[in-house]
Symmetry: C2
Subunit: 107 residues, 2 copies
């Protein structure tokens, strides 16, 4: 399942776009741990992710802005953010958004 099943808007989205450094440096394992940890947070609604050679885009969905703030402040997540800046990312951008409308298509 690669697309998240989110409820009717409004809800919140955190768009995380990044350029990785070369090599893994424990990244894959930590990314998996963070996804598992996020799933246990209050207000977590889902996550979508794609990565190619140049860019990674991860979008996580949350019930409220308070849930977004709590996840950012989580201590294990803070540690992963620190490692990200030290080792895994050349650049990244985080955008916190309120989802106003949504629609989809399925074959």
């Amino acid at each position: 399942m690669s697309l998240a099943r989110t409820p009717e808007p409004p809800y919140w989205a955190v768009i995380f776009t990044s350029e990785r450094t070369d090599g893994d440096h424990g990244y894959a394992q930590m990314a998996q741990q963070m996804e598992t940890l996020a799933q246990r947070q209050p207000g977590y609604l889902g996550m979508e992710h794609a990565r190619d050679e140049q860019t990674g885009v991860t979008v996580s969905y949350w019930r409220s802005e308070e849930d977004v703030r709590r996840w950012k402040a989580d201590l294990d997540h803070q540690q992963a953010q620190k490692l990200g800046r030290e080792q895994w990312y050349r650049r990244y951008q985080v955008r916190v958004c309120r989802v106003e409308r949504a629609y989809g298509f399925e074959r």
Copy 2:
């Protein structure tokens, strides 16, 4: 350049996540055309994209909600959307969001 240089929030983001069908069917050429066309639209601020075997995530950024609506209604873009449903996508989800805050990191 894989990360978009967007202005201070607020602005708008359209998160397009998709699962592709097998084969290309003219997709790569049309994706390039649509990116070029989007860049010419009023209010276009940038685009970020990643794709792996399972999932594609494209985020486009816009100055206002009106700019988002105008781009969705563009006739060439409408034609691409139709081909997308007929040929390229198994499923997709579009989420229209207001970006409330943003921050980044650069090495």
